[in-house]
């Protein structure tokens, strides 16, 4: 058996319905973007699961690292005023 270079990995994003955003559904191997879209169609939309497909080469994705969890998300926990319920309004004001 000859040593073949493995096809790159692609991450697949699919818009399930009109009006929704694309959502990550999984990954697959393909030699290029065009093929990745065709394979994604075969693998991830065989039952009408999509109206649009994005493919991104996995190596092109930058991700936050788990150890950043604290520094990234903790600052927002003490900013409760970003939520509507922070503001107590009198009943007379009605629904707001």
């Amino acid at each position: 058996m000859t040593e073949t270079k493995e096809w790159p990995l692609w991450e697949i994003f699919i818009r399930g319905q009109h009006g929704m955003s694309h959502r990550h559904v999984g990954s697959l191997h393909a030699p290029d973007a065009e093929r990745a879209i065709k394979n994604a169609r075969d693998v991830y939309t065989r039952r009408n699961e999509g109206t649009s497909i994005w493919v991104v080469e996995a190596s092109a994705i930058s991700a936050s690292s788990p150890s950043d969890k604290g520094p990234l998300y903790e600052p927002s926990t003490d900013k409760v005023y970003r939520h509507p319920t922070f503001y107590k309004l009198p009943d007379e004001a009605g629904n707001m």
Partner: protein
Amino acid sequence: MYAQSIKSTGRAVQSLEDMSAEDREFQERIDRGEKIEPKDYMPEAYRKNLIRQIGQHAHSEIVGQLPEGNWITRAPTLERKANLLAKVQDEAGHGLYLYCAAETLGVSRDELFEMLHNGRMKYSSIFNYPTLTWADMGAVGWLVDGAAIMNQVPLQRTSYGPYARSMVRICKEESFHQRQGFHIMIAMAKKGNADQKRMAQDALNRFWYPSLMMFGPSDKDSVHSAQSMAWKIKMNSNDELRQKFVDETVPQAQYLGLSIPDENLKWNEATEHYDFTGPDWSEFDDVLAGNGPCNTDRLETRKKAWADGAWVREGMMAHAEKKAIAAKKAQHKMATG
């Protein structure tokens, strides 16, 4: 089950007090029901066990295509042929989802194939039995996919995120597999002529015990599963799932007018379960060791498909690289005018 020959570390499960701080935090996350994601900390043994388990599962999906692929061109009607083709295509997809899940743990798909082909990794024993008649397509869908579903449904809650998500997709697709199998059984066992009924019974006779084996060795002989349960990469014990399978399948066989090939099968009022005869475990060991009726054939078919496809994989990669270079050149030309 699809990963029925997993031998974990063999060490007893460590108590929280004995763990390193990192491992304790990891175990506590699992105990809280949190999902572990690829970049999160995980003990090396957890990673290794998962690669073996997900790998075996993936291999089972794609080797599992072979006994059924055998009948695609021999299906009795165009409709049955389309049904079977769709099912076998689904199984290829299941293999793909699972290989991708394993890849997030730092092993490549080619490495996994390599280990399947050189015998270092296993696939489920069930696919080493031959499919001799069309009724076997009914029995496989009904019993084999039925047993697989029983194992896969709880695995949707497994602790490793990518594995759990691939299980969700697989379970969604799987129920049609069992139903199309049962549909074939109805056509043959209930609506068929005497010969067809005989074929249906024969298929059940041959697939019953191999299906029971799918759940893996008896709990008393699988001492290694405690760690997997603690890690939530195994959700139920082998015997528990096997009992559930028997309890659900017996009434279905009765509906079909078929008899389970077990003289000791009897409803037990006290336990509210069926008592049944377990499979012959020496046969199970033998099949796993490579001596089942179809082991050689299945592996040879896999290896041949992989080798025969090499020029396609190479050619498409070379073409993609050439196109990428051409596109870059064209871009450069545009930019420099």
